[in-house]
């Protein structure tokens, strides 16, 4: 059984020093799990700056590769809800918005692009768009890994805050939906993707005891190590807000270990 990991910079192991593949993959979360359990191999598919769409792409890439096996144990660290992968015409390539901050526009500096970026942020950055995308990302990931044992957790961001905040966006009308029967047509307004408990129920449906979604009921890795485990936050988080070696160890030891042991 291989260990195969997916995620953003947290799972990749950003800011672990020295910045070499060997050191990083021995000391990042996947490396720690690999050392502490009996796996035949460990492959890290995580990508710095990844969105959840990018994570899905990586999973599909892996499923279509010779490295895929139904026997593999998959670990997915979900990324920020505001991140989004777009293919941009003028650059002929993908652009992932790590967060809505112009610091990530290096190499994407054309005036037209920056104007679009700023307008899109102003007009379309809201929780309704984020949670629609998040729900679709989760359902798609669920389908893609349905044959494997897996654990999915949230690496960064505050999922509860997003679900709480969307209720405050009532000034943006929901999409009108209809039910048509032979007698009449009635309006429907309930939107499952905006309600945590409902989308959670759908995600958990038809999973088995070896397929765990921990992103709904537990805080993210970032908040876990920031809030609970260190009086001195700089021992667990590096300057760029990525986990230190200790931050990786704590996430394994105090959170993931018990779930992994139950599965394998």
């Amino acid at each position: 059984m291989k260990l195969v990991t997916f995620g953003c910079s947290y799972v990749w192991g950003d800011e672990l020093i020295p910045n070499t593949p060997e050191y990083r993959n021995l000391n990042n979360i996947g490396g720690i799990i690999y050392k502490n359990h009996k796996f035949d191999d460990y492959i890290n598919f995580a990508v710095c700056g990844a969105s959840n769409e990018r994570i899905l792409l990586q999973i599909l890439e892996y499923k279509n590769s010779k490295y895929y096996s139904e026997d593999d144990f998959i670990l997915v660290g979900l990324s920020g809800l505001s991140r989004k992968l777009n293919y941009i015409n003028i650059y002929n390539q993908a652009f992932t918005i790590p967060h809505w901050n112009n610091m990530h526009l290096t190499n994407f500096e054309d005036e037209e692009f920056v104007n679009w970026f700023n307008l899109d942020k102003k007009i379309n950055l809201n929780y309704k768009n984020q949670l629609t995308r998040y729900g679709i990302n989760l359902l798609a990931i669920k389908s893609a890994i349905s044959d494997n044992k897996y654990i999915v957790f949230q690496s960064i961001d505050d999922v509860d805050f997003s679900y709480d905040s969307v209720t405050k966006e009532s000034y943006i009308k929901n999409v009108p939906l209809k039910l048509s029967t032979i007698k009449n047509q009635t309006d429907l307004y309930s939107t499952v993707l905006f309600e945590k408990e409902k989308i959670k129920k759908e995600i958990l449906k038809s999973t088995n005891k070896n397929q765990l979604w921990l992103n709904f009921d537990y805080e993210s890795w970032f908040y876990f190590i920031k809030n609970k485990h260190q009086p001195n936050v700089y021992e667990t988080l590096k300057k760029g807000n990525h986990p230190s070696e200790l931050g990786h160890q704590i996430w394994y030891r105090d959170f993931l270990k018990k779930y992994i042991e139950n599965i394998i």
Binding site: I90, A94, S143
Partner: protein, 274 residues
Amino acid sequence: MKLVTFGDSWVWGDEIENDSNHYNPNYSTFKHMNNIGGKIFSEYKLDDYLNLSINGGSNQHILYQLSNYILSDRYDKNDFIVIGLTSPMRQIIYSNLTKKYIGNWPNWNLETYLENTNDPLINSYMFKTWWESHVQMNINAHNDVLNYSQVCLSIKGLLSNHKKYIVWQSIDSKFWDVYQSEDIKKDGFFIRGEDLDLHYQKDPFDKYSLNSLLKNTTTEYQTWINIDESSWMDYLINNFEKDDVFVWSSMHPTINGVNYWFEYIRKYIDKILI
């Protein structure tokens, strides 16, 4: 067993009229009995028929409707669910400016949108500028394929426990060909090669890979024909006289266009229901 349908205007039954000289924008008994769901309902003598498709809807609308339905009191795991997918170019985008969602049907033509909306945005320079720059930056088949694949996999996830369903493409399947011809780097699809010397293997979003994923672990009663078969629209265009199968606007099928599609797909439905 109930029949429950999801889709866009094609499944909704737009422009199916008992008086072809008068367009009725509202749903009617005539539409209900003569649209594709009505045809399936009467041919297979099902107990009831609910139509949850949306005129002008996107695939995200379908996902909204499906997730609402599955968690509603009306849901029964024995229902026969029919889904007609629409153009992946259509999207739901909630706009802070309009304070509602932007329905970009039938396409990303700004003039068409403004003609069909009562938004005060018709005079908004900011909205117009955003729309035009969005089209310039983001409208391409790569984004379409990404959105489409995600929605298909999401629908599969929602229906993982559901016994009987069929999914087809109602309109617009040309995006696959455009996707293959676009000169956009697929670096979003590459394995991060730095650490383990893994390299790009195969495009996970080519339609054959997606098709294989959609059919993985499905039963013979859970049927995806959205990739194996042409779209409903293409089937009509390729096999029949235009005036026979399309209404005057050429945007929707006539009752004949509905019946021909039903006859074509009934082999799949027979397998599921008989």
